[in-house]
Symmetry: D2
Subunit: 296 residues, 4 copies
């Protein structure tokens, strides 16, 4: 006998720009919003009866309308608002997850002054928020992706085991570079949390731990990054990191009579990939907030 073990659906990648035209000095938010809903959905899978299937087009409209009605300040709040809306207004929907990417922009200068309504996309990391809301409560995960960091020194890799396939020479002083992909789970989905401050500080701690750790392995750096966020930010219960090792290999210039310690080739693949989750001991998930991995 065949059964439907899991089912969910939604609208992915609604690209919305919410402008705030109050006064002479404009502000705006540039977001990519994805909605996923689950619940009493078996009918449409098994028979094509859509009586419980709120169209994904309506979900998209909801994103636009809620942004217009409530504005968008912190993406964690907007994700929560949307997730709650779908579960509270659609009886068959038992759980909603809303993922938001926020693209950074900077106000440009005009004749030495901040321009009133002109911006350049910053293009550094993308800020992320994810809210899951269901019968068990709410969970909020913040994060970032695409933060590319590099140390020109202060990194080694030695003392590893050698098997018959090992040819790697030990490195006493190497470039360490990665593209940080991080998620951190908040202990509570309180509306009281100062999401902006929490994000700014968590990001800063990730960067400072990367820059300030003498690294014997990228694993050690990863742990230092997660540990530092948890040590300084009591509102965060868990940090999950995925760090590609963006290898920068020294070019062998000895055939040309040149020294090889200042020229590197930046390779694309293959690449090492180090992952880890650091959490607060005893940080048992309360009120619906499971670990990040057991998502969704």
């Amino acid at each position: 006998m065949v059964t439907l073990a899991e089912a969910r659906y939604g609208k992915a990648q609604t690209r919305i720009v919410r402008v705030c035209r109050d006064g002479d000095r404009h502000e705006f938010k540039d977001l990519n919003v994805s909605v996923t809903l689950a619940g009493d959905l078996a009918d449409t899978y098994l028979t094509g009866d859509n009586a419980k299937v709120l169209p994904t087009d309506s979900q998209k409209n909801t994103v636009y309308a809620k942004a217009a009605e409530h504005g968008v300040d912190q993406i964690e709040d907007f994700a929560l608002l949307l997730a709650r809306h779908f579960v509270d207004s659609q009886q068959p929907i038992h759980r909603a997850r809303v993922d938001i990417e926020e693209y950074r922009w900077e106000r440009v200068s005009l004749a030495g002054e901040p321009a009133p309504h002109s911006f350049a996309r910053a293009g550094r990391e993308t800020r992320l928020a994810s809210a899951t809301y269901g019968r068990g409560g709410a969970r909020v995960v913040s994060g970032l992706t695409g933060l590319v960091l590099l140390n020109t020194t202060g990194s080694e890799f030695r003392g590893y085991p050698r098997d018959r396939y090992t040819t790697l020479p030990e490195a006493g002083d190497r470039i360490l570079a990665t593209a940080v992909d991080a998620r951190w789970r908040h202990a509570a989905a309180d509306a009281d949390t100062d999401w902006a401050d929490s994000y700014a500080e968590a990001s800063r701690h990730l960067v400072e731990a990367f820059a300030g750790t003498y690294s014997r392995s990228l694993q050690q750096t990863l742990y230092a990054m997660g540990e530092r966020v948890l040590r300084h930010r009591p509102e965060i219960a868990e940090v999950r990191l995925s760090l590609p090792n963006k290898h920068h290999l020294p070019v062998d210039l000895t055939p040309f009579g040149l020294s090889s310690d200042e020229v590197f080739v930046a390779t694309d693949r293959p690449y090492g990939l180090v992952e880890g989750t650091v959490c607060r001991g005893g940080a048992e998930p309360a009120d619906g907030s499971g670990p990040i991995d057991g998502a969704w």
Copy 2:
């Protein structure tokens, strides 16, 4: 107190081409191999002691060497061979996962005959295999990604609930298009399985279910696809599908006095995303093989 809750690492995206030059008629396999290892790894995270960290460079070399030694026939077998190698040869490694993408190539014709050693990349779907090996046993998941399918008719979407944000008109005859992303778990990781036949047939059933189902929702089509694979292939225990709804919207040509039922705009985003897992009732994971989602 802060703890390391989860840790893994490996070498991602080793791009290898294995040529078989036996005789006049060459064959080759074009693969992208990613290795992930877990086990007794806390030392390197906590202190930078790398005594248990087999370098990812050695993992890459292992992929090359094993391909040379054993050849590459079916990617499920090659993934299993690699996963077993890492766990069996590295005492601290308790679990290994090997993911392989196989790119399709077709032999070209030359003067009406199959060319002996010339090929064109087929570019349709990418075949996937993933083997996980650990103390609990082995699990093999096959799959495909990037299979773009389209029905020009035989699809409707009606009878859905309408909330205050619903403006979508019902569709009695629409284009249905998706890019199939599918994974299927084998009931056993037997070396006896005819992986090539299993893949060819599972793929064929996915395509035929998509083409042959009158669709009242993409959800219904998804279930039909998974159900059909399970019905015909006893070696498969579970099918997981992720189907973006690649919307093709009719263009309103009435302002130009033209009919609108044959011209469509293919949109990129936002898009609906329908996901589901179909499994054989009572298909309890045996010998280490958990469900696909609880991966890793």
Copy 3:
């Protein structure tokens, strides 16, 4: 004094699917159409006076409407029809260029028969057509991109000069792989040309020349490809090819006591890039048809 030396504008990437629902057996075309217009446009650049600027939104609508009115058979004809429309209907527009990409789809099988209205995207090469129309007449360029070809033998690279930075060993038997990007200019923009046949044959000759040439350099293969098309297809006056050398480097397996002639690493970059234009001697551009490079 500052002047406007060159100006053009248009609508890029209108993604249109034109279905033909005649009878039980449907057909469709999947296109990406880009329009570029030039002419008496200085006013809008210099003063913002838009009296001569047909909106790009209207250009998009025109693509849809013309596809509805006339259908789409061969993309060369559709590109010509559109280019002529803009020049003939907009007095300030002196020249129009229309570029079309056509994505390949294959009809799928259903229970051993061709399915009536179900298709899979082929994903191999993309067919291209470009029509330029202006006072000097019309020019039609056909082409393809994304055709990835590979020979497992029949390629060497030797006899090259060595400077102080040369370390490359000579290769007596190497893999040769490329992603063909080709454009060919038709001697005339006749509506009489059988574009479908011309495309099929030109493509076939490119593939056969790649497969059938013993290659001493990718340059030699390039010339053989262009020369063969011109030799067999009198309607084609010029072929322009851009061939990346997708290096497949033998992996050194000697540290593991293994032979190294059957395992290769497929690299992404850097890559060699060989370009060339082959033309029919005396193929002087007539009636507005300049060489491909002097495009625009």
Copy 4:
């Protein structure tokens, strides 16, 4: 008779990181270098005789070695140095073009101080330089790509002609957004030019012209951008701009009883594309420096 009308080859996308470890405070340059050579190359195309074909592998090595020997300060100088090297050292090479992309990085802060050797990739625009060197002399083109700019107001589009396919309503106050792709040709390839200052100022003028121009069309904005660079920077002879109109369409929220002037959908395609070249009157190309378009 078939002839080789054009031929060139080289090594594309050599990714090099040049670190400067002088003292405690490190610096580095992150570049992507592409080399293209032309000259007396017909032999290899026609017969496979490689006696005049400097391997692309040697070109790659040259990039690394020259970076080690001379360091890398301004990319215009490094491109010139490389282009000259190939022409001056290889008799059959008559012309060389070197294109360099430079990725921006920012020094990170550590405990409130600039970190000595830690950086984050800035990810905003990519700086470009291209040097062409041949018998006619040298030409240097600088530029940037990927600079995404947006004005939340100060843009309209009205007064355009309406044909039978025009449905666009006039816009009195719209968002204007683009991703600037710019190239500017220097009047001379002098080693005296302060490339860093020239780049910083040209970039600043592009941004300020975008932000400071009340825009009646994107064409008008384009001209204003080019004109302003030429007006302020005598060392620049010509500016070529390609500006996609990244449409931000107001969402119609009237069905939900909401106002529609603060919520926009950011679309990907189709998009308007406006291009233009602005040059200094009488800026006749001297000593080998042709216009950018007649490239290479």
